[in-house]
């Protein structure tokens, strides 16, 4: 098939839809694993859904990754976690996406998938924490911050390893 601008557009839309589905499936996986039983931090999640966002960012476009971030938050909050978590999820997603944008736009920056992933997990947690301070109107939730830092480093490293193991053809959109 020849690659015309319109067929490219269709391919990008399909890939975005596919990766959104992947992120939803990964969110469902997170929802199934009772992680909060092992790690008693409210709102703690391994953040596997970020994998789909990073892949979309490189394989399709930053816009595609942004669309997935927002839709993933909206759909998972409707399906699994409840609408009240939407504001936390969106705040976290927005900050994680900003970290991704920032780290990939600094010239000559030597950063690995693991570093990127840790930075995203960290910003995601910071966003969520900021949202909960705003919602609760009480800064005492800040005491969760050290625990969230540790979880961001561990979970970010884990998703980073998964991203590292993905073959190159996935990142250039040949699925």
């Amino acid at each position: 098939m020849t690659s015309t601008p319109s067929s490219n557009k269709i391919k990008n839309i399909s890939l975005t839809a596919l990766l959104l589905t992947v992120s939803l499936a990964l969110s469902y996986l997170e929802f199934l694993i009772p992680v909060t039983a092992a790690v008693p931090i409210p709102g703690f999640k391994p953040g596997f859904a970020n994998i789909a966002v990073v892949v979309a960012y490189f394989a399709v476009s930053p816009l595609s990754a942004a669309v997935i971030t927002v839709l993933k938050s909206v759909i998972t909050s409707l399906l699994f976690s409840g609408v009240t978590t939407l504001v936390f999820s969106l705040a976290g997603g927005a900050l994680a996406f900003s970290a991704l944008l920032l780290l990939t736009h600094i010239k000559n920056l030597k950063c690995s998938y693991i570093g990127l992933s840790v930075a995203m997990a960290f910003s995601h947690n910071v966003g969520q924490l900021a949202a909960s301070v705003a919602v609760m109107g009480n800064a005492s939730v800040l005491w969760y911050y050290p625990a969230l830092v540790v979880s961001a480093v561990l979970c970010g490293a884990l998703t980073g390893i998964i991203l590292t193991l993905l073959p190159d053809r996935i990142y250039i959109g040949k699925v």
């Binding site: 780290l103 030597k110 950063c111 693991i114 840790v118 911050y145 830092v149 480093v153």
Partner: protein
């Protein structure tokens, strides 16, 4: 757009190190030099100035406490209550917190709002 490296880089190490360092931030932020502490007993409540070092005896619900103020911090030095939890609680003042003795209905609070209401919490 350049894709990230597959191997860990120096930047990664610095980034992760800085992120871990920020975990200490809440400790710095909540370090608030309080100038007074509120002591509420079974009989009522009083405010203690933390600027001057003092020690005094307090009675609450039949138990006696020797409360000390030193270096801007307040703590329970001695008590005849069977629990002894208040004696083992670390001093408050430099950090916000409370020292509580349940049998004696004693509470020493720093930096947190104390309400005299009977309501524990209100869900909005």
């Amino acid at each position: 757009m350049e894709r990230p490296k597959r191997k860990l880089t120096v930047f990664d190490a610095i980034l992760i190190f800085v992120i871990i360092l920020t975990a200490a931030l809440p400790i710095i932020f909540t370090k608030s030099d309080n100038t007074k502490a509120v002591i509420s007993t079974a009989g009522g409540s009083m405010t203690v100035d933390l600027a001057a070092d003092t020690a005094f005896i307090l009675e609450s619900n039949g138990y006696h406490f020797k409360i000390s103020v030193s270096n801007g911090e307040i703590y329970v030095e001695e008590s005849d209550c069977p629990d002894g939890i208040c004696k083992n609680t670390r001093p408050v003042g430099k950090t916000n917190g409370s020292i509580v003795c349940l049998p004696a209905k004693l509470m020493i609070t720093c930096g947190e709002e104390v309400s005299d209401s009977d309501v524990d919490a209100v869900v909005k």
